[in-house]
């Protein structure tokens, strides 16, 4: 249960205060503000603030392209044009600020996206809570035997039980020791900035994360992808649903051109053109490596 009654009261209070503004407002986003969307066993994503909407993207594009955009008279067509031709700056005119609670090993992947603003809870200053990510049984996956970075089937039987037991007991022991070390009862008490090093990376942290829509789409393309690790993908999926309500036209274009899009190499295009002319092409006659050929065939099958 990620949200405490205390936090829920804060959310309710924040949602009870409505303000008048002259700024652009996205009705689909107002309903999300402050609410916590639960992710994993103790995590959440919630919208703290946002700037702009679909119209703001078009407004900025029309400043840049001036009369050049008159031909594309409607917002949907314009947004799809911008997405198709990689005109990224108009999407940068929208901004979102999220409050995210997430395991440290997920945070370590996430932070690699550098073009964002972050304020993370500091374990130098403050004491972390006893909250650890313990995978659900169906997510307790074996190492993939065909892919160095992937997962295979879920563990079964005793092995699964053993792993769950290790994760739970090690987490709790580490936290017990953390508390013992920082305690100042009857002892000096270890500095927090040192004691935290004993905690495993399935402990939860939290941060405010602010990013523009272009860079958010880049994040989502990589992290909502089927090759992303499950534990970050569920955050990306939750954000996708929020963005779909915020900027429905931009999100629709993103889904079509990025999430569902496929990139063909120059060699791949040659193969494609030969196939469309009726030629029977094989890996041998394609000039492609086995890996590239497999990926190409995979995308053509869909």
């Amino acid at each position: 249960m990620p949200i405490t009654p205390e936090q829920q009261a804060e959310i309710d209070e924040a949602r009870a205060q409505t303000h008048q503004t002259l700024r652009a407002t996205a009705p689909g986003m107002e309903k999300h503000l402050y609410k916590a969307h639960e992710v994993l066993d103790h995590g959440f994503v919630r919208v703290i603030d946002y700037m702009g909407d679909d119209a703001a993207i078009c407004q900025a594009a029309r400043v840049s392209y001036g009369k050049g955009t008159k031909a594309v008279s409607n917002d949907k067509g314009l947004i799809r044009y911008l997405m198709r031709h990689w005109h990224s700056t108009p999407f940068e005119m929208c901004e979102i600020k999220l409050h995210v609670k997430l395991p440290v090993f997920v945070a370590r992947q996430w932070i690699r996206h550098r073009t964002a603003n972050v304020n993370e809870y500091s374990a130098r200053y403050s004491i972390l809570d006893r909250e650890f990510y313990i995978p659900a049984p169906e997510q307790l996956a074996a190492q993939s035997v065909i892919n160095n970075q992937g997962r295979g089937a879920a563990l079964e039987g005793e092995e699964a039980a053993r792993v769950l037991d290790i994760l739970k007991s090690d987490s709790n022991r580490a936290y017990d020791h953390y508390e013992q070390m920082i305690s100042d009862e009857g002892q000096q008490g270890l500095a927090r900035e040192l004691a935290r090093m004993n905690l495993p990376s399935n402990i939860y942290t939290q941060w405010y994360w602010k990013v523009d829509l272009h860079n958010l789409f880049h994040f989502l393309r990589l992290r909502a992808d089927s090759h992303a690790q499950y534990e970050i993908r569920v955050y990306a999926d939750a954000i996708c649903r929020i963005v779909a309500d915020w900027v429905p036209l931009a999100y629709g274009a993103f889904e079509d051109y990025r999430m569902g899009g496929v990139q063909f190499s120059s060699k791949g295009m040659d193969v494609l053109r030969r196939m469309l002319k009726g030629e029977k092409v094989t890996q041998e006659t394609s000039g492609m490596s086995a890996g590239e050929w497999r990926e190409l065939m995979g995308s053509l099958e869909g």
Copy 2:
């Protein structure tokens, strides 16, 4: 007259539409929204959107520093603490989007601040207007004789008249020729992307410029400084007045620690400590170069 009746009507219409929102709202900023603050002879700055306020800076800082910030119980003290100790990330949690109309040579300086989002009017797609910056007589300054990058006194008499005449007539001739070259009446008409190269850099352009508060402060520190070129400084000054209404606590701290702040070198601190002990220090006994010594003495005189 930078604002046409048509533009004023658009502004009035935008300001007539008020929305309900659950987001943080800065009353001091709402009164600026969409309004054009005139700068130079045809330029302006206007706020298109904003995210956050003084409270949002504190909210983010309290996420990071947790209980560490409880000692600093009020927002003003916390914001001053953050500014004093270069904790920049909480200020990044605020964002502003401006519409700016400015001469091209000013835009060329401005764009060097890379951490911002920009959509500029494109002269490849669209035709520029006949609007050029012509300095007011008191700004028609001579080259400084003591500073390679500065200005001296205003030009006088015939020389001033001659310069003004050159700037005006060259601008108009260049624009006449621009129009002739792109015209498709009785001729093919030169491509806009080529014809624009004939226009001098006092022509006006415009853009949407979006930046977070930390990076905006960095911009303002450099561009509202007395050493900045007058023509960009007036834009920075106009933005300073807007920011003071938006986030009064953060702006107050910025004024005290950055705009009015002085950096002493290690050597400068030695000199200072000796002076405070009553020693009479000269450049010769300071170990500083003539330039450093002059700057140090200047800052101590205030």
Copy 3:
């Protein structure tokens, strides 16, 4: 003639000094160092320094992916894998520093690529030279009638002559006036930072531009593209030839996957799969807009 005898002497001197180093060295790049590759009528690109080579990309990738990269045993396969799967960070491990001389209107496009380091010649401090870009006759193109941002056929006859005459005489007159205004003979002399505003944007500037290979590829993909303006494309083309000598494996992968690559949307993939099954698809049955359909058919024809 972009290179003066004085500059050539400097280049020769720099190339005469050879050093011993333990760093990775790219033989294909050493032959370019300091030499000026001429671009347009007065411009050039030359390599001032570089860091890394194809092996450095693989070295960094092997740190990240550890045993995961052992399967891809050779450097060429690994680099192609990284490029295909958008693993951009290993390419960021190479860096290049260029000295570029280019017209101001080209510099204004170029600088929009923010992830680079720049030191530009300052016309506040220094006096610009009398060098202007005057297009070759075959580049004096008419505005495209089908594309707002493009060029059509070259201007012909009298119109071409008229345009050339305008560009030349306006450039020279503007420069004469620039010199007159800043002169301190018998007058105060206008500040350089003001006088420069009279100069048209076909005047040449120059800068040092330093960028990592990933961001350089992004620049090249957009600016060596057939839709880029000719005057920036020739710089991108010159850089492509340099990069091909510097990191031949990475450049080969870039050419195959980026320059020659094609992105299909989700809708486009549906169409493609139907066509491969032998179905006759038309725009009407595709669910695509006229513009998207035209682009899709264009890329399938190659």
Copy 4:
């Protein structure tokens, strides 16, 4: 012992290969190349590559400021001028690539410096080694009682022994369990990307980190500062020594103006000027808060 005989052999081999280059070479840096500078109990910093030297900073500055820099005829004076006036772009013309081995909790602080390129060892792909940071007894510090983010005196006696024992035994137990979970002997074997979550943040990771000199100085100012956590400060200190050999003039200016520099607020300058005139100023008459006054007095005492 951070360096294995195998790694030392690699270093020796890399250092045995010398190349001819036309690039600028910094003799002080060549002696560091590839060598591992040991930090903490298992960590290191080593230089993999570099670009530029003191002369390269001046070269870039002279492009920007042209004749404006002639007055400052020598490199040392010019570099000090650039540093004093926050002209940061010439320093961005130098670049360094480091290989760093460091505990995960240090890596988490380090990565917050966003303007750098990183390739980190991936525990999704590869298996981490059994190497944990265990503080030396004199670094096993108590929580500061006056500063929420700081350390007090070293723990003593039984408490110190108890903490050391916890850190060692928890690290080893976590690693034993990590190995058990990923083992595929007689079981499926948990995916590496999941098993890593059991490891505490004193485990070592490693990365290639590439950054320009301006951003490196910013990192060093914050992390070599006495308020930085000891475990990251020792890395910053090691890098300081390397940079001092690489660009001695720039490093000297950095030490004087940044590391040893002091920033006074506008209020602080008022106090200073009154003191220099002989006035006896107290906190009460200063208009400053207790915290600001304490910091001001501290910096005046040195």
